[in-house]
C-alpha cells in the first residue's frame, strides 16, 4: 500500500493559481525527487501535503488515512510527516540536542532523559554528536541542516519532506547534507524538492518534473535523463544539469 497518496491538489494564493491538479503516490521507503523551474509550486506542494498551507481542493492520504479531512487531528498526523526546511528553522534558544529532543518530549511525551538519549543517536547518525551542546548560531549552515534532518528523523516519520534542503548552503557544505540524505535512502520515504541533479540522478527512485503547477513528466532517473518523452523535460534537464554540474555532485 502506498504510504503517501496525493490526489488532484489545487492551491491558489489570491488570484494566482499555484497548483493545478497534482497527483502522485509514494511507496514505503521510496525516494522521490521533484524538480522544476522556480515558482512552479514545488514548495507549495510540500506545504499542502503536511497542511502547513492546506490545499483548496484535492486529497492527501497518509497510510490509508485522508489527512485533508477536516476531522483528522492534523497535529497527530504531522508527527508522522517530517519536514526539512530550506532555511533550517532551528529553534534558536535550544542546543542542537534539545532541538532534536523537544519533539520527543513535548509531542511524543517521552521522558526527558530517554528523549535526549534518542536525540543523541539521531545526531550521531548525521555526524554531529560532537556538536550536541552547541546552539544553532554556533553551527555552520550544513551542520544546521543536518540538525534539521535529525530533528525530523527523531520523530520516526513515515515520510520526510525536504524543501530545497541545500539551496541556502555554501557549495562546499552541500556534500555533507546530501551524504546524510543518501544514507537515509531505503530507510524512510523521502520526497525531495531540489536542484541537485546529481542527487536526483543517483539517489532517486523516481523523478517528478513539475512546471506551471502541474506534473509534466515523471519516471525513473535513468529514463528521465537519457530518454525523456517530452522535449520540455529534456530541455530543462539539459539546462539545469549544465548549471548545477551534475557530474561533480554525482557522488
Amino acid at each position: 500500500m502506498a504510504v503517501l497518496e496525493v490526489k488532484d491538489i489545487y492551491k491558489a494564493y489570491g488570484n494566482v493559481e499555484i497548483l493545478k491538479g497534482v497527483s502522485f503516490t509514494m511507496e514505503k521507503e521510496e525516494t522521490k525527487v521533484i524538480i522544476g523551474p522556480s515558482g512552479t509550486g514545488k514548495s507549495t506542494l510540500l506545504r499542502c501535503i503536511n497542511q502547513l498551507s492546506p490545499p483548496d481542493k484535492g486529497q492527501v492520504w497518509l497510510d490509508g488515512e485522508e489527512i485533508t479531512n477536516p476531522k483528522t487531528n492534523i497535529n497527530k498526523i504531522r508527527e508522522k510527516i517530517g519536514f526539512v526546511f530550506q532555511d533550517f528553522n532551528l529553534f534558536n534558544h535550544l542546543t542542537a540536542l534539545r532541538n532534536v529532543s523537544i519533539g520527543l518530549e513535548k509531542v511524543k511525551r517521552i521522558e526527558k532523559e530517554a528523549a535526549k538519549t534518542r536525540a543523541l543517536q539521531e545526531l550521531t547518525r548525521v555526524g554531529l554528536d560532537a556538536q550536541a551542546s552547541q546552539y544553532p548560531a554556533q553551527l555552520s549552515g550544513g551542520q544546521k541542516q543536518r540538525v534539521g534532518i535529525a530533528r525530523a528523523l527523531a520523530m520516526d516519520p513515515d515520510v520526510i519532506l525536504f524543501d530545497e534542503p541545500t539551496s541556502a548552503l555554501d557549495p562546499e557544505l552541500i556534500g555533507d547534507v546530501l551524504d546524510v540524505m543518501k544514507s537515509l535512502c531505503g530507510k524512510v520515504a523521502m520526497l525531495v524538492v531540489t536542484h541537485e541533479m546529481g542527487f536526483a540522478r543517483n539517489v532517486a527512485d523516481e523523478i517528478i518534473f513539475m512546471e506551471g503547477g502541474v506534473i509534466v513528466e515523471q519516471g525513473p532517473p535513468k529514463e528521465m535523463f537519457t530518454n525523456a518523452k517530452l522535449a520540455r523535460t529534456r530541455e530543462f534537464l539539459g539546462r539545469i544539469g549544465a548549471l548545477y554540474g551534475e557530474e561533480e555532485t554525482g557522488g
Binding site: N50, L52, N75, K76, I77, R78, E79, I81, G82, F83, F85, D87, F88, N89, L90, F91, N92, H93, I102, G103, K106, V107, Q134, Y135, P136, A137, Q138, G148, R151, A152, M155
Partner: protein
C-alpha cells in the same frame, strides 16, 4: 532638634518603603502577566480580539497615570465599583504597564522568524504548544532589556500613588515635611537616594539575568 525629628521619622520612611516595594511587586506582576497575554493575543488570536487588544493598548498608553489613578479611585465608586487606594494604585500601575509591556513582547515575538513556528507545527505541536515551547522562551529572553526599563519606570511611578492617598515613601516624606518644614530638602534628598539605589540595584540584577539567559549568538550588547 531637626536631626532628632529626622531620626524619629526614619521608621515611617521604612514603612513607606515597604508599601512602595509592594506596589512595585504587585504592579509588575499584574503588568507582566497581562502584558504577555495581550502580546500573545495580538499576535496569535483571532482578528476581532487582536483589534480589541490594540484599542486597549492605545487607550492605556494615552492616559497619564495620575488621571488613571483618579478614575479608578474616585471615578469608579460613582458607578458602584469601589477599590481601596492601594488596590486602585496597583491596578493603575499594572494596567498601564501591561499596555507598554505588550509592545515590548510583541516586538520580541516579531523578531522570531516565522519559520520556527512552522517547524514546531511540523513536529506535531499545536499552536498552544508552539507558543509555549518555541515562542515564549525566546520572547522572554529577548524582552529582558525592554522589561528592565519598564520595571524601573513602574518602580518610580509608584510615587504618584501619593496622589490618591496611598501611604508610600513619598507620602511619608510629605508627613515629615509637614511636621518639620526645615527638613524638606534632607528628607526628599533621602527619598531620591532610596529610589536611586533601588533602580540601580534592580538594573544590576536584571543585567545579570539578561546575560545569563541570552541565547548564544544573539547577544545584544548594551553599552551603558
Amino acid at each position: 532638634m531637626a536631626l532628632e525629628t529626622l531620626i524619629e521619622s526614619l521608621p515611617s520612611l521604612f514603612d513607606g518603603l515597604l508599601i512602595t516595594l509592594l506596589l512595585t511587586a504587585f504592579g509588575i506582576v499584574l503588568g507582566t502577566t497581562l502584558g504577555i497575554v495581550l502580546a500573545t493575543g495580538r499576535s496569535y488570536a483571532s482578528r476581532p480580539l487582536a483589534y480589541l487588544i490594540l484599542i486597549y493598548e492605545k487607550v492605556l498608553r494615552g492616559i497619564p497615570l495620575l488621571v488613571l489613578f483618579f478614575l479608578l479611585y474616585f471615578g469608579l465608586p460613582q458607578i458602584g465599583i469601589n477599590f481601596n487606594a492601594f488596590t486602585a494604585a496597583v491596578l493603575g500601575l499594572g494596567l498601564r504597564s501591561s499596555a507598554y509591556q505588550a509592545q515590548i513582547y510583541r516586538g520580541a515575538i516579531n523578531s522570531i522568524p516565522e519559520g520556527q513556528i512552522h517547524a514546531a507545527y511540523s513536529l506535531g505541536m499545536s499552536k498552544l504548544k508552539a507558543i509555549r515551547h518555541v515562542i515564549m522562551p525566546q520572547m522572554l529572553r529577548l524582552s529582558i532589556p525592554g522589561w528592565s526599563n519598564e520595571f524601573t519606570i513602574l518602580l518610580k511611578d509608584t510615587s504618584l500613588a501619593f496622589g490618591i492617598g496611598v501611604i508610600e515613601l513619598m507620602r511619608q516624606g510629605r508627613y515629615i515635611q509637614v511636621r518639620d518644614p526645615d527638613l524638606v530638602l534632607v528628607v526628599f534628598l533621602l527619598i531620591a537616594l532610596i529610589f536611586f539605589l533601588l533602580v540601580f540595584t534592580a538594573n544590576k540584577i536584571l543585567r545579570y539575568v539578561e546575560k545569563k539567559y541570552q541565547m548564544a549568538g544573539y547577544q545584544v550588547e548594551a553599552h551603558r
